[in-house]
């Protein structure tokens, strides 16, 4: 029961946001999609201890797969999501066979490199992807043949929120499962995991594949909601910002990923409109302040405050 509380809170926030910002639904949808991407990263960095800067490779491939599927095969949104997730998973599995043999800086460099290879590939295959012009002409069918995507983005927002709920719930179950426990074991001590008989390398590939599916779904959602896929889905910035959002919110507990994304993107949006030239400075300051004051991220804030209040008494 207690585990359902955060979900109820999440639903409440989603509903309030919907009515409070009826003309910002496109932005809110982007936030929700980014949350899914950051969740996929939390599964790797926060839960399993796999540090990566290549989430864009998985996200971007999901976006192109869903976009191409909609244009050439079938414009059904849910089918497109599954295709995007599958594409992300396949890319993660194949690249993971190599990547997951490496650790630390080598892994960081290689994950960045993989995303760059994909960006270059998408650029070279312009007959298929539209190259630098982007992949256009995506028009989506109604969700489940019923809910038409509308101009102000109501359907798009609700659809994205539903996907976020489902992904979060699934990841919660996975993290609480024996598989999830073994991932946390790997984070604490890969050597001990091997010593109890766990094939650590295979487990790492498995979780990378799962994270690939989730990131791919996020990419697919992005493609569907903006009706466009450009080469920028593979940008280094996508991976780097996802990591900053995760660290800001706090790693390893999923809720941190959601909070970090919301705060980062809200501050970004406000700061960029207040001061289009210096918003990066504000974001940078925010991240530094949080990392310094609450090393475990915003999710650790209540506990930190409780501790400080306790000390005052």
């Amino acid at each position: 029961m207690k585990s359902l509380l955060p979900f109820a809170l999440m639903a409440l926030v989603a509903v309030v946001a919907f009515y409070a910002f009826p003309y910002n639904l496109a932005f809110l949808t982007r936030v929700v999609i980014t949350m899914i991407l950051v969740l996929s990263l939390d599964l790797l960095i926060g839960v399993t201890g796999i540090d990566t800067l290549g989430q864009a490779a998985l996200y971007g491939t999901g976006a192109y797969a869903a976009g191409l599927f909609a244009v050439h095969v079938w414009a059904d949104p849910v089918a497109g999501l599954l295709v995007g997730g599958l594409a992300g998973a396949v890319v993660a599995f194949v690249s993971g066979l190599l990547l997951m043999r490496t650790h630390g800086l080598t892994l960081l460099m290689l994950t960045i490199a993989v995303a760059e290879v994909f960006q270059e590939l998408a650029n070279k295959l312009d007959w298929l992807t539209g190259g630098a012009d982007g992949l256009g002409g995506i028009t989506m069918n109604p969700v489940f043949g019923t809910w038409q995507f509308d101009f102000i983005g109501q359907t798009g927002y609700i659809y994205a929120v539903c996907v976020l709920f489902i992904v979060t719930a699934i990841l919660k179950v996975v993290i609480g499962s024996p598989f999830g426990l073994s991932l946390r074991g790997i984070k604490d001590s890969p050597a001990r995991m091997r010593a109890i008989g766990t094939p650590v390398g295979r487990r790492r590939v498995a979780v990378y594949t799962l994270a690939g599916a989730v990131a791919g779904i996020a990419g697919a959602l992005a493609a569907q909601s903006t009706a466009l896929v450009s080469l920028s889905v593979y940008d280094f910035q996508v991976s780097a910002e996802a990591m900053i959002m995760l660290i800001l919110g706090g790693t390893g507990r999923l809720w941190g990923a959601l909070i970090g994304t919301a705060v980062f993107m809200a501050v970004h949006e406000v700061a960029a409109s207040v001061d289009p030239f210096n918003w990066l400075f504000i974001i940078g300051f925010l991240v530094l302040a949080v990392v310094y004051a609450v090393p475990r991220g915003l999710i650790g804030l209540p506990e930190e405050i409780r501790r400080m209040v306790g000390r005052l008494k």
Partner: protein
């Protein structure tokens, strides 16, 4: 033969030879101790057996089958397990989760994506009985990093027993355990299933003489001698070794 058979094992780190033509057998029911001065190569030997390190040459057989090419995880599945001399636990996880992991792994369940990890009936029963065996029941839900070092040593031992190995290697299980708790270690070793093959590495001679029926003495990577506790106690070379360089 059944059990573990080590034939002509050698290992060198660069120019430093730490295992020199080691021959040891460990049959079901054996209670052997491996003793020797610091740096003799005892821990290295355990790492060679469990597959953490690869030998320069030599053979390791389990029930007559060459296991030298098996991965560390595969050797665990084959029945070989060890405790670490320097405690190696899942620090941020609770004591119960530390025990669940090997228990789930032994049953081949850690690939499962659904059902909560703390709802596996057989596993939970074993978790509780291991906790009470090592008097850890009170701190079962505490993260391991909050335990005193001596208690962490007990978790270390309990985790390895959770694997139900056939060949059990204990690398200084009592090191760091306060004397009030160290009988728990001796008790646990005496309480092991009779058909288990056990190799204990220890500097604590009281414990060695309590549990071992045969003692192997390792010096500079080579076996100096092997014998019953009485023979080893009477061996002048061993006595010189331990009087010359005394420790823990």
């Amino acid at each position: 033969m059944t059990g573990l058979e080590v034939i002509g094992l050698n290992k060198a780190f660069g120019g430093l030879t730490v295992a020199r033509d080691i021959n040891i057998t460990l049959a079901p029911g054996d209670r052997k101790a491996l003793i020797g001065p610091n740096g003799a190569g005892k821990s290295t030997f355990t790492n060679l057996i469990t597959g953490i390190l690869e030998p320069t040459s030599g053979e390791i057989r389990l029930d007559g089958r060459d296991i030298g090419k098996l991965s560390e995880a595969q050797r665990v599945k084959a029945g070989i397990a060890k405790t670490f001399q320097i405690t190696n636990l899942f620090k941020s996880l609770t004591v119960r989760d530390n025990l669940r992991l090997p228990l789930l792994e032994r049953r081949g369940l850690t690939g499962r994506l659904i059902r909560r990890s703390d709802r596996e009936g057989g596993v939970e029963d074993e978790v509780e009985s291991l906790l009470s065996q090592f008097r850890l029941s009170d701190m079962g839900d505490r993260p391991v990093e909050r335990l005193a070092y001596g208690q962490q040593r007990l978790v270390e031992m309990a985790m390895t027993l959770a694997l139900k190995p056939r060949i059990l290697i204990l690398d200084e299980p009592a090191a760091g355990v306060p004397s009030s708790e160290s009988p728990l270690i001796a008790e646990a070793i005496s309480g092991l299933p009779q058909d288990l093959a056990v190799l204990v590495i220890e500097h604590d001679m009281a414990l060695v003489f309590k549990v071992a029926r045969r003692i192997v003495v390792l010096v500079s990577g080579a076996i100096l001698t092997e014998g019953t506790p009485e023979e080893i106690a009477a061996d002048a070379r061993v006595r010189d070794l331990y009087l010359g360089a005394s420790h823990g």
